[in-house]
Amino acid sequence: MSHNSRTLPPSAAVVPPPAASAQGRKRSLQQRRARAAWLLVAPALILLFAVAGWPLLRTLFYSFTDAAMDTPEEYNFVGLANYLDFAEGERFGVLADPLWWQAVGNTLWFTACSVSLELFFGMLLALLMNEKFRGQGLVRAAILVPWAIPTIVTAKMWGWMFHDQYGVVNDLLLRVGLIETPLAWIAEPTLSMWAVVIADVWKTVPFMALMLLAALQMIPSDLYEAARVDGASAWQRFRRITLPLIMPAMIVALIFRVMDALRVFDLIYVLTSNSEATISISGYAREQMVSFQEMGVGSAASVLVFMMVAGIAACFLWINRFSHEGKEARE
């Protein structure tokens, strides 16, 4: 590959004179490597542009048109009408659709609930796995099971367990005596979101736990011994040693999970059939696009989804950087 790079335009090629110092030779090697690096990255970047960048731009483009799904080549520009439009004193467009705002609320609620529960249970699980006990391998294998199960299968399995008449969940709750009549987990709007959250938490706690566990295992054990000698309680040890040291890994895991939860679609589509009480923003955009064949409106909703997710990601990064700077300033 490096002899390929020699045939590139000579704009940046610095041919060292024969008498160049070792320093100069080193630099030219560095430059040659840098140019070759671009060649090595190019195929991936080109492919990535073709399958991600280009479709994203086209989605943006379509969001300003009235294209329909079956005839995407026929369209008229409608400006921002797909987003928001005023006609005869009424408002139209995605931003005027109460279902869109319902979907935004659902998605944020789902994300906040499921990610915080995952963080809590993931932390407990990671602390447990960090202890030494017999049969640890078995537990580790067991917690990988939910992670390995395809989301659709998770949705179907929990859909069956949440079945109002024959479901295991109602049966167990009845036996324990927590409820007196079976609950309609899927059909009842107030409960269906909890059904979705429970299924999601069950599936993703292992991921969170493994991330946190990896961070826990990097903490040197003499720190704990020193703290114990100084008479620190278990809670103090957790609060003052564990938490600060795993914070960076925790934030990364949180970002991953939040981004993942914000684009939720398949679990809700299958578990609660995209019901109004649970529909997510991704589900809303896809419904406009595919079920109603409104490619323009659907694209506009997709663009809004993208902007919302990107905005939340930017906030996270900003907070992360901010806290880093704060920490450095204090030290």
Binding site: M1, L29, R33, A34, R35, A36, A37, L40, V41, P43, A44, L48, V51, A52, P55, L56, R58, F61, Y62, M69, L128, F133, Q136, V139, R140, A141, A142, I143, L144, V145, P146, W147, A148, I149, P150, I152, V153, M157, W160, M161, Q165, Y166, L210, M211, A214, M218, A249, V252, F256, R263, F265, D266, R286, M289, G298, S302, V305, F306, V309, A310
Partner: protein, 281 residues
């Protein structure tokens, strides 16, 4: 009364084992329940009993044959394998450059790749739909290979980059001193020892492609081209209100077992692959 140190240790042990037991049961129970259901037919299905009652294999035969899940398994396998193959091939050189060579713009490329791996799939849905139609791939598994690259490629590049970064510098230095070109370094020095990392990355990407639902639901309309998740999602009974739970659970078990077996065999590697990107990145 103050507990002795030994008693406290014993108490702690007790709680740990109890917690481990509870966790394991919660993790495995839904799948166990699915297996139980898949072995029941007729009225037995509606028994809420926690032990196996009957062993009927009809559900499996039915799901695999009549409902076409067998065909979907093959489709899923082809799509996931081809996608992962293409992604690995392209990302191995990219990952090498991103991990081992310092050049301007490297950070921006890495950041872009990370962003793409996180962005919502629905954001490219209509653009991808147009592309798929333009290429004449609508309703064929080719459309899925194309669209799955959207999320597989950034993932493989990212994970391979973190793996490559962890290899010792000496490895390359010796080769550079010997005057080896980058291409030689990649193919002769790195490729042979990248085997395990490639396998881990490939496996994780494979699982991602195997599980994908939205593109598969949108770009495929004929039964025989469906992938497994859509086939299971679409299983319908005689009437709209009567879902064939036995068949659904049988199909679910069939598609999940290969993944679970793979995951349990490669447990350690998967855990390291999952956490590699996050903890060190």
């Amino acid at each position: 009364m103050k507990l002795t140190r030994q008693q406290r240790e014993l108490g702690k042990k007790f709680w740990i084992y109890l917690a481990a037991l509870v966790v394991s049961v919660i993790c495995v129970f839904p799948f166990y329940n699915a297996i139980l259901t898949s072995l029941r037919t007729g009225q037995d299905l509606f028994l809420t009993s926690y032990l196996p009652t009957t062993f009927h294999w009809e559900n499996y035969v039915n799901a695999l044959g009549e409902n076409g899940v067998g065909r979907s398994l093959l489709n899923s396998f082809i799509v996931a394998t081809v996608t992962v193959g293409i992604c690995l091939l392209v990302s191995i050189t990219a990952a090498f450059a991103l991990a081992r060579v310092r050049f301007r713009g490297r950070k921006y490329i890495l950041f872009t790749i990370l962003c793409v791996s996180m962005f919502p799939q629905v954001a490219v849905l209509s653009g991808m739909f147009e592309l798929v139609r333009f290429l004449g791939l609508y309703d064929s598994i080719g459309s899925l290979i194309l669209s799955y690259t959207t999320f597989s490629l950034p993932f493989t590049v990212w994970v391979l980059t973190t793996f490559m970064r962890s290899l010792p510098v000496e490895l390359e230095e010796a080769a550079i001193v010997d005057g080896a070109s980058l291409w030689v370094i990649i193919t002769r020095v790195f490729a042979p020892i990248m085997g395990p990392s490639l396998a881990t990355t490939g496996l994780l990407a494979f699982i991602g492609a195997w599980n994908e639902f939205m593109f598969a639901l949108t770009f495929i309309i004929s039964n025989e081209n469906r992938t497994v998740p859509v086939a299971i999602g679409m299983l319908q009974g005689a009437s709209q209100y009567e879902l064939p739970w036995g068949h659904i659970m049988a199909a679910s078990v069939v598609v999940t077992i290969p993944i679970i077996v793979l995951v349990l065999i490669f447990q350690k590697r998967i855990v390291s692959g999952l956490t590699a990107g996050a903890v060190k990145g």
